[in-house]
Structure formats: C-alpha cells, structure tokens
C-alpha cells in the first residue's frame, strides 16, 4: 500500500497527467458518441429500412474486437496518438446508444404520439414534449453501458500511443521488474470504470421522468419505453 502511494505521488510517474489523459480520452469519445447516436437515432427510428440497417450495422460493429478497430484506425489515418484512439473508442460507444435510441423511440406508446399530433403539436413539439422525455431513460441506459465499455477499453489505446493508464500497463507487461506499473494501471482503470458506472447510474435515474419511475408502476405497466440495456434497473 505504501509502495502504491509512493508510486502515485512520485512526480517521475506523472500520475496526475496520466489520469487527466485517460479521462480526456474517455470523455471525448463519450461526447462524440452522444453527438452522433442521439440525432441519428431520431432520424432513423421511424424509417423502417434505415432503422433495420442501423440496428444491424451497430450489431456488426459491436462484434468487431476493439483491438482490430484500433489497428484499422492506425492504418487508415497513418498516425498514432490521440485521434485514432478517440475515433476507435467512439466506434465502440455509438452502437449501444444508437440501439437504445431506436428501440426506445419505437417503444413509445403510439397512442400518445397520436394524441400529440391530434391536438396540433408540430413534429419538433412531438419530439421535444413527448418522444424525447419518454426515450431519455432508455437512451441514458445506453450511454451508461457505452461509457463503461469505453473506460474499460481505454488501456488498449496505449498500443497506438493514445496515452493514459494504458502506458503503465504496457510498461508493466514489457518488464517483470515493473509489476507495480501493471498493478497501478489495472487498479486505476478498474476504479475509473466503477466510478463511471456509478455516475451514469445517477444520471440515468435523474433523467427518468417521475411518471416512469419503477416505484410508481401501477396495475398496467405496459406503457413507456422498454429498458433493454440496463435490466438491473428494473429491480430498483
């Protein structure tokens, strides 16, 4: 333990810089995934063909190992460092959010949308006042799982010079004498993943409208979006 603290506080190890780099390398892809997946979800959800394509391509992308994506990015961009890493991690983050957006929007009670249109809401009003509030909890569940996946994968980015905790791990793996590096890297990533999970669980709860909260469920719980990415929440 003392050894650990010594390692972390040793300026030569630049732990603070590594932590900052890791967080930036996580945050940027999370934000990019959101910026891509949320509008894309809205655009394709009501178009059967586009939604089918988006769902299947997302599934496909998820099946490709992140390691392979990193290598492809490296080859494609012909550079190492932050940019290819961030793009690869974004590719990891988009599918879970997009899938949940599509499933969530399609799960909104058609009668509610019908009533909204019937009373004279414009398309943007239907989206802002009815669809988005109802889909937000489902989308947030997708964001949560995307974020945790990105954090868990971030050490791999060190392979193509992305920096962050992954450097400790690579260091540790390359030389048995550096076991402490490996340990610090792995523990830090694990803690960051747990923290991310906790933060996004709170966010998810916060964006769930009171009328949809689990505790409220009365006799007919059929209304409202289906929660596919976070079955754990059901029990809450």
């Amino acid at each position: 333990m003392g050894e650990l603290i010594q390692y972390i506080t040793d300026p030569a190890n630049t732990f603070a810089d590594h932590t900052r780099d890791t967080i930036v390398l996580c945050l940027v892809p999370i934000v990019l995934s959101l910026l891509i997946a949320l509008p894309l979800g809205v655009l394709v959800a009501r178009q059967p063909v586009a939604a089918f394509l988006a769902t299947n391509v997302s599934g496909l992308v998820r099946a490709i190992p992140t390691f392979a994506v990193l290598m492809v990015m490296l080859l494609l961009l012909k550079q190492i460092g932050f940019t290819p890493s961030a793009i690869a991690l974004t590719a990891l983050g988009v599918p879970p959010i997009l899938l949940n957006m599509i499933a969530g929007l399609r799960g909104v009670d058609p009668a509610a949308i019908d009533a909204a249109r019937g009373m004279g809401m414009t398309r943007p009003q239907v989206l802002a006042r009815v669809e988005l509030p109802l889909v937000l909890p489902v989308a947030a569940a997708g964001v949560r799982s995307a974020a945790v996946q990105i954090v868990a994968t971030v050490p791999l980015a060190a392979l193509i010079g992305g920096g962050g905790y992954g450097e400790y791990i690579l260091n540790g793996l390359s030389n048995e004498a550096n076991a402490i590096d490996l340990f610090v890297g792995a523990v830090s990533v694990a803690l960051l993943a747990l923290l991310t999970e906790a933060i996004f669980a709170i966010v998810q709860r916060a964006v769930t409208p009171a009328g949809l909260r689990a505790g409220l469920q009365a006799a007919d719980a059929a209304i409202g979006p289906t929660d596919i990415e976070a079955p754990r929440e059901k029990a809450a």
């Binding site: 009668a111 009533a115 009373m119 004279g120 509030p133 009171a210 009328g211 409220l216």
Partner: protein, 329 residues
C-alpha cells in the same frame, strides 16, 4: 361554433381492397351533437380523423364553416379541434394537471394561468383535483384515464370536438354522469361534436342527430326520433332496436310523435303533459291517473292529445318492416 360538412368523402387505405369510408356525405349543423354509430370496422374512426387531417381523404372534401380542411394548415386546424382518441393516449411522463393543460401550453399559455382551469376541468369529469392533479397516468384506472382524456380535449375550449368512444371504459353510473356533464356543457357554449359510440342508448340520449355507418357507407342519417320511427333498413332496425325496440321507443320518442289533434277523450281540466315528455312519461301518467288520453301542452297552450291507441299505433309503426310516417313533430 362551426358547421362540419362531409361531401362525398372517400378514404381507401393503401393496399386495401375496398374503401374504409365510401362516398359519405352529411352535414353537422353548428352546435349539434352528431353520433356516429356502426359496427366495428365500419369506418367511424377513419371518418373522425379526416376532420382534423390526421388522415386526408382519397377523394371528396370536408368543409368546416364552408372552408375545405385541405386549404387549412393542419397544425392550426387541429389546435382548434378537441380530439378524444379511442386509445386515450395520455402522456405517461406528465402529471394529470400537465396532461390537461398541454394544449393551452402548446398555444403558449403559461401554466400559472391554467391552474384554476385545470381544477375546474378535473371537477367537471368527476376527479377530485386535490387528489388527482399531481398523480401520473399510471396511477389511474382505465376509466379515470379516459376522463382525463376528455378534460384534456376540452382544455382550450375548442368549438369542434371529435370524440372516439370517450366513455367506452366507464361503468354505467359514471358513464351516465359524464353524459349529463356533456349535455350540460352543451347547454352553455354549444360546440359542434362528432361522437363515436357503440352504445345505442348513448347515441339516442346524446345525439341531436345520428349517422349510422356500415362497411364504410352511410346507411342512415337522422334524429334519434327519425331513426326509431323510420329505420331505413333491417340493419338500422337491428342496430337501434334489437330486441328492445319497443322499449327504446317508449324511452326516447317524445309524445309529439303520437300526437292527435284536439283534446279527444282527454279531460280538459286534467293537468297536461309537456310536449318534450317521452311516450314512457305519457304511459306512466295514464297508469297513475287511470285515464286513457292526455292533453299535451307546449308553452302553456294545448297542441293536441295522445291516447293509448295513438301511442300503440306509433310504436307498432316504428317496429314494423315499413315505417309509417311520424304523426306530428
């Protein structure tokens, strides 16, 4: 206030073999309640949704106050029309109060101005505001949700109301209360109402006129009295009367349908019956007083009389295969 005119309205859904609504023409006068009656799948909902342009007709036109709806912007058109949808469709993430004031809110009215109006509307539909305004739709029974749907449609005080089986999920007692409320609203500011119902009693009670639909076509249009007295065909007779045809006529036909001139055998000194009383009222009065004829008054003046014989002739005429003309109106 608005007149709604259907001119040769036809709607064929893409891929459908026959039209869901087939060359339907009729007019709902300003301030009238028009009941749409018909078997399931006869095109009632389709007809209703063409009024606020949720569906556009394949051919024909719908005119509101003389202007074809297709010439109006659908959004503005819909904002002036209250719509109670068949599946209720409350917004699950909004409280009951938020649901009720959603139409005024999209029209830009601040929530603070609406608080009193929301409570008034909740009371109108028989939901204690203090108990229900802060609840969410999931915490309400199906019938209570349906009543919130009605309050929501009334919130912006539209001059046209489209109601698709608005009382379908209500028990007989609550349903009757809601019907009374609707008639009470109608006695104040009169709205032009298109009301889909499966309940013949409801149609006879609420309707200024009834439109009977079958397989997309308009079979008969008329007042409840006209439909009871002269059903256009067996379909209408079965729909309206069923086995209770005679009972229905006693219940809904006014005494004027069996009116005969003069005072006949009625005792001039006896208390007269008002012209808007039903045949059932007349029979009850006769049984109570032991007389076989009653003088009928309108605005204090005797307009004729009814007798057991004239009532019996009228009721038999309405139940027979060929309807006899209404004696008097």
């Amino acid at each position: 206030m608005a007149t709604i005119e259907f001119v040769d309205v036809t709607k064929t859904y893409p891929g459908a073999l026959r039209p869901a609504v087939d060359r339907v023409s009729f007019t709902v006068p300003e301030g009238a309640i028009c009941m749409l009656l018909g078997t399931s799948g006869s095109g009632k909902t389709t007809l209703l949704r063409m009024v606020n342009r949720l569906i556009d007709p394949t051919s024909g036109a719908i005119l509101i106050d003389g202007t074809p709806t297709t010439q109006r912007d659908p959004i503005t058109l819909r904002r002036g029309i209250g719509y109670v949808i068949q599946q209720v469709g409350l917004f699950p993430h909004m409280t009951i109060a938020e649901n009720v004031r959603v139409v005024p809110s999209i029209l830009g009215r601040p929530a603070s101005e609406m608080a009193a109006r929301v409570d008034e509307l909740l009371e109108l539909v028989g939901l204690e505001p203090g108990e229900y305004r802060g609840r969410y739709p999931r915490q309400l029974s199906g019938g209570q949700q349906q009543r919130v749907g009605l309050a929501r449609a009334l919130a912006a005080d539209p001059s046209v109301l489209l109601m698709d089986e608005p009382f379908g999920a209500l028990d007989a007692i609550t349903r009757e209360r809601m019907q009374e409320e609707l008639l009470r609203i109608q006695r104040g500011v009169r709205k032009t109402i298109l009301f889909v119902s499966h309940d013949v009693g409801e149609a006879l009670k609420l309707g200024d006129q009834i439109v009977v639909m079958s397989e997309g076509r308009l079979i008969q249009q008329g007042t409840p009295v006209e439909l009871l007295a002269h059903p256009a065909d067996d379909f209408v007779r079965r729909l309206i009367g069923g086995n209770d045809s005679i009972l229905r006529q006693f219940e809904y036909l006014p005494v004027t349908t069996a009116l005969e001139p003069g005072t006949g055998e009625a005792d001039a000194s006896d208390e007269a019956l008002a012209a808007d009383a039903t045949l059932l009222h007349a029979l009850l009065r006769m049984m109570q007083s032991g007389q076989s004829a009653l003088r009928i008054e309108r605005d204090g003046a005797t307009i004729g009389h009814v007798s057991l014989a004239s009532i019996s002739r009228q009721v038999q005429a309405g139940s027979a295969s060929t309807g006899a003309p209404v004696t008097a109106q």
